[in-house]
């Protein structure tokens, strides 16, 4: 069983190569090739990649389009920020406030005591659990309410968007408790370790990269199991799955919760690397941007989604430096173009060319006939070698998960 699990994780030969290339880029090429400022930006983009990966699971495989992943990214980020803010607000450094020892924005809003729900965030253990548990629990409540009533498709997408909007309004409106529109800023140390130093930035970048790879590996195990196959089946014929004895809602709730948890890890890493958290990362626009990352990278490819997040954000940084007002239009256009012409994103294009390059070498003699067939028929031949029946074990998916 363990062996099969490892096989799923590595995703076969091509899956392993893809993962190694990604790891090399994250851990070697970028740290060596970029200055710390740029690397820190890449670190920020990679926190969005968590959300893009979560959308591959949820949207690509599960067929559930959530336009509110910012909710979970934000909740994870806010949990982390609350801990860091409390640490930064010790009585010594806040002694000029009316009420020393509470976060500065609370003091500005005439709060005289720490609200009860902030208290547990003095503990790092609690905070780490909360980062994972709070968004997952919230996703469970939303998911249970929606999927058990069989709300899906466009309606689900709209509802998630509305929840993202409500949460933003709530955060902005409750300034005294949340820091309002500015968010939670001036984060300094984590258990006494200054996260603003150069060495801390490098260390956090590498932790972030390692967590991202770990999330991809776990996702591969899940997608390679019967669960992954069932998600594909559910996307295709939900009724059939239901009438094969599966409670479809349970599976949707699980994948929605999982996606929320993954997004929350990204949010927490965002707070640590960028040094603040604000409602601009919770609302509708960031949530839709995150869907675009996944779409551009390839919504069926875990690794593609990471590249999607990196490239789109790189484009955003470059363009918004020169033409800030044009960026949103460009991104909208990009999304439409990807959906219309490359439904499987960059990963889809890569797969197509990889197949042409490596597996489709025509035999001598029939070269012209074969190559014309290659062009007109991009799908691989349907009939599998009957001498190689599916192997036993957990790896029950035919296609390696990329």
């Amino acid at each position: 069983m363990m062996k099969a699990m490892y096989q799923n994780m590595l995703g076969g030969r091509s899956g392993m190569i893809g993962l190694l290339i990604l790891a090399a880029i994250i851990f070697l090429v970028l740290p060596l090739g970029l200055d710390l400022f740029r690397l820190n930006l890449v670190g920020k983009y990679l926190t969005y990649a968590f959300v893009a990966v979560s959308l591959v699971l949820l949207w690509g495989y599960g067929g559930i389009l959530s336009l509110g992943q910012g909710i979970f990214f934000g909740l994870g980020g806010y949990c982390m920020a609350m801990f860091l803010k409390l640490e930064a607000s010790d009585p010594e450094s806040t002694k000029i406030q009316t009420t020393p020892g509470i976060p500065d924005f609370m003091d500005w809003n005439q709060l005289t005591a720490l609200p009860w729900f902030w208290e547990p965030f003095h503990s790092l253990t609690f905070t780490l659990i909360a980062i994972l548990a709070v968004p997952t629990l919230f996703a469970f409540i939303i998911g249970y309410a929606m999927f058990k009533r069989r709300v899906g498709g466009v309606y689900f997408a709209i509802i998630t968007q509305v929840i993202a909007l409500i949460l933003t309004i709530l955060i902005v409106g409750q300034q005294g408790y949340t820091g309002g529109v500015n968010g939670i800023t001036d984060l300094k140390t984590l258990m006494g370790w200054d996260i603003r130093t150069d060495s801390a930035k490098y260390i956090l970048y590498f932790i972030n990269g390692a967590l991202l790879i770990a999330v991809i590996l776990v996702s591969r195990v899940i997608l390679g199991s019967k669960f992954g196959m069932l998600m594909l089946a559910m996307r295709d014929k939900e009724e059939r799955v239901r009438f094969s004895g599966y409670d479809v809602a349970d599976f949707k709730i699980f994948v929605f919760c999982l996606a929320a948890m993954i997004s929350a890890i990204g949010g927490a890493m965002f707070t640590l690397q960028v040094g603040f958290m604000s409602p601009t990362f919770v609302g509708i626009v960031p949530s839709i941007e995150m869907v675009i990352f996944a779409a551009v990278g390839g919504r069926m490819s875990l690794i593609g989604a990471v590249y999607g997040a990196l490239l789109v954000n790189y484009g955003k940084t470059v363009f918004s430096e020169s033409y800030p007002e044009l960026w949103l239009f460009l991104m909208g256009g990009l999304f439409i173009a990807v959906v219309m012409f490359f439904p499987n994103g960059l990963a889809g294009i890569y797969d197509k060319y990889e197949k042409k390059l490596f597996t489709r070498k025509p035999r001598k003699g029939s070269a012209s006939a074969m190559s014309s067939r290659t062009l007109s028929d991009p799908q691989p031949g349907p009939v599998r070698d009957a001498a190689s029946p599916p192997a036993k074990g957990m790896g029950i998916s035919n296609q390696p998960v990329n």
Partner: protein, 249 residues
Amino acid sequence: MSNNTDFILSIEDLTVSFDGFKAVDMVNLYVDKNELRVIIGPNGAGKTTLLDLICGKTKATSGSIKFKGKELTKLAEHSIVRSGVGRKFQTPSIYENLSVFQNLEMSFPRGRSVFGCLTFRRTTDVIDRVHEVAEQVMLKDSLYLEEAGLLSHGQKQWLEIGMLLMQDPELLMLDEPVAGMSVKEREQTAVLLNKISQNRSVVVIEHDMEFVKRIAHKVTVLHQGKVLMEGKMDKVQSDPRVVEVYLGH
């Protein structure tokens, strides 16, 4: 008064009303163990709705459906399936993007919970069962076809029957299983149905009277949501009311 527990399926006073239109109206139907029952009737008679009611896709307005003495009307679809009712849809409903093997494997009655799916393993008993069923539904040669969507229409029908057989249901409901099949495929399907009904009850909706003759133990005629008559095929065929509403056309 007959004892309901003798029947595998007993439907009593079943009614469903869509905005006042009674698609199924006070229907009583009893199916024996190991019986193959065919339901016929003109379009709109309520045949498919009746199957929808049994398998839980549509909720009954009133009346009762008892399967092995257990009330089904309040159960969720997956619970009905798990208690032993299998349903084939009118248009073949298979997972087009999965292989034929995976289509059958998905219907293997183990690992149906989230956790069960995550820890499901393709063990020897699963593989053996898939092979056994593939043999039964004449898809042995296509078992490793990577996309079941590439099967012919008739083969898709068989695959869906195979998926139901994987579940080993005690009651199998088939909605027009030979629609779109060639004459030869119809014959093969008749043989298949006669074989699989030997140790389970089967309810079939069908329009092809030749086919019905070959398989039916008993025929129920539905008309405008009501049971018009019930009995042996020859008796039904010669009944003037049945000829009037259905066969005559």
